[in-house]
């Protein structure tokens, strides 16, 4: 990982994660850089989502999960007992594979984060909602019916609403778990475009099954297999001259 001189934002050291007796991550050590998009690829069940969810401690919600090793965000070990999980999750936003807007209005969906942070001033909320929706490239489509239910939007719009909602809490890192897998090509293109625009401000980690997508949107790519990080490098290099045979087989579709 000598490809970038950017500062490290997330670093994992020997990260092991167990679901009960089953080990889902095996000694994963990786550096993720600021202002870059990192794609996580690998066959189904290899631990991409698990790794992603380890970065904002969403796995805490599952009974029986056990974590070893370190996850350092800006040098702070987030599994340190002194760390405030709620605070952590405000810094590390997450977009899920299946868009999950609340059954509330578009406005209230975006205002949810600010509200739980104690922002109740209407004009301030208005401003935050508009800014987030603009960032998520949704503003023009919904600005006239902010009171409409978030569930009334199309799939692609719902996913962008979720992105806007995540950005309203001003995270530094955005984790995206197959954000476009349920969307049609046009909606997918919009999300990819969005990711491209957001990367200057956020550190983005995105899981995808789509090699073209990984090649299009990411700067770095990490390849997981059976819970292990096989290889990570600049995306260009990963797709053209990977150093591991397994990686080459996978990216060229010869995997079996």
């Amino acid at each position: 990982m000598t490809t970038s001189m950017d500062e490290t934002r997330i670093r994992t050291e020997g990260l092991n994660l167990f679901y009960g007796p089953k080990q889902a991550l095996k000694s994963v050590s990786v550096d993720l850089k600021k202002s870059r998009v990192t794609a996580l690829i690998g066959p189904s069940g290899c631990g991409k989502s698990t790794f992603l969810r380890a970065l904002n401690r969403m796995n805490d919600l599952i009974d029986d999960v056990h974590v070893e090793g370190k996850v350092l965000i800006e040098g702070v070990d987030i599994y340190d007992p002194k760390v405030d999980v709620v605070e952590l999750r405000k810094r590390v936003g997450m977009i899920f594979q299946k868009s999950n807007p609340f059954p509330k209005s578009i406005y209230e969906n975006v205002a949810y984060g600010p509200r739980i942070n104690g922002v109740n001033d209407r004009s301030k909320l208005d401003e935050m909602v508009e800014r987030s929706l603009r960032q998520a490239a949704l503003w023009d489509e919904v600005k006239d019916d902010l009171t409409k239910s978030g569930l009334a939007l199309s799939g692609g719009q719902q996913q962008r609403l979720c992105i806007a909602r995540a950005m309203a809490v001003n995270p530094e890192i955005l984790l995206m778990d197959e954000p476009a897998s349920a969307l049609d090509p046009i909606a997918t293109a919009k999300i990819e475009e969005l990711i491209y625009q957001l990367k200057s401000t956020y550190t983005i980690v995105i899981v995808t099954h789509n090699m073209q997508q990984a090649a299009r949107v990411s700067d770095d790519t990490a390849f997981f297999y059976l819970g292990e990080l096989i290889e990570m490098d600049e995306t260009k290099k990963m797709f053209t001259a990977p150093s591991k045979k397994q990686t080459e087989d996978y990216v060229t579709g010869r995997f079996g």
Partner: protein
């Protein structure tokens, strides 16, 4: 025999007949009470007090008593039940011993006979708590709290209907998609904020259903109040928590088993039964409807 056609016919016809028999039983009981009570049922019957030694007049005080009792019961029981459901569904890890104990307790509570709740009300609320209150605040002579009354009957009933509320609310909470909780938590909401802003608003129907079912169960149950607060006849409506009260179910029981001339009051008995049946029925229908809507939404 495993492929004898007659066995097939027997199975299908037999089980269908069983279902039909039960439906018929329901219809017969309902029809009998409806027909028996219809003529006596009137606005006056609902709004007047019994007269002439309970052989004439209406059941107004009994309706009021039933009403007061279920209101008090719900005020206490529904919040406790809802919070317990929140604990079981949102806070407890499925493996925690504590949660398992509580789950077991809720199931056990659901199976404790109503009459045992009555004994408990008598032994705990009246003798122990009420007795203690009288010793602490009373003049030592007059009994105020250490006797059957509206408060103890309602509290007893609240405990009895607790499992109904818990089960119903918990079901509703489990129907709230996990994705919504995750969305909220991933935005940095705390657990309580998630419960309060996402889970609860999406399980309001379940909360209502639970409350309505509890009220229906409570309104129809007589055994626990036989000796914790119900009275045969009272000249006044209860005006404090330490008063006894008349009650629809108890009224039916007393009128049909110990009035000196049962035949003479048959119309009143039937009409009272009809009132109680209509009351619990409308409540049950409301619950069924709410639950139906809730499930439909959960699927969508």
């Amino acid at each position: 025999m495993r492929n004898a056609p007659w066995l097939g016919t027997l199975t299908v016809v037999g089980s269908g007949a069983a279902a039909l028999t039960i439906i018929l039983l329901v219809v017969v009981v309902m029809a009998n009470i409806l027909i028996g009570g219809w003529d006596t049922l009137s606005w006056e019957f609902l709004s007047a007090a019994p007269t002439e030694g309970m052989t004439a007049g209406g059941v107004f005080p009994a309706i009021v008593g039933t009403f007061l009792r279920v209101i008090l019961m719900s005020i206490v029981g529904v919040p406790i039940g809802a919070i317990t459901a929140i604990y079981l569904s949102e806070y407890a890890s499925q493996r925690s011993i504590f949660a398992r104990f509580i789950r077991f307790a809720v199931n056990t509570l659901a199976g404790v006979p109503a009459i045992v709740f009555g004994l408990f009300g008598l032994g705990f609320f009246i003798q122990f708590v009420g007795g203690g209150m009288d010793r602490a605040f009373g003049d030592g002579v007059e009994l105020r709290w250490a006797q059957p009354n509206l408060l103890w009957a309602s509290l007893t009933m609240a405990l009895m209907t607790l499992p109904v509320v818990i089960v119903s609310v918990e079901e509703a909470m489990r129907n709230v998609p996990r994705e919504l909780r995750e969305a909220s938590l991933a935005l940095g909401a705390s657990r309580w904020q998630t419960v309060y802003k996402v889970v609860l608003p999406n399980s309001i129907t379940g909360l209502l259903t639970g409350g309505v079912l509890a009220v229906s169960r409570g309104a129809g149950e007589v055994a626990p109040i036989l000796f914790t607060g119900a009275a045969y006849f009272l000249p006044h409506l209860p005006n404090s928590l330490s008063d006894q009260f008349m009650e629809l179910g108890y009224h039916i029981y007393v009128m049909s088993t110990q009035s000196p001339d049962v035949e003479a009051t048959m119309g009143i008995q039937y009409a009272t039964t009809l009132v109680l049946l209509l009351l619990t029925f409308s409540l049950n229908f409301a619950a069924v409807y709410l639950r139906y809507r809730m499930r439909k939404r959960a699927i969508a």
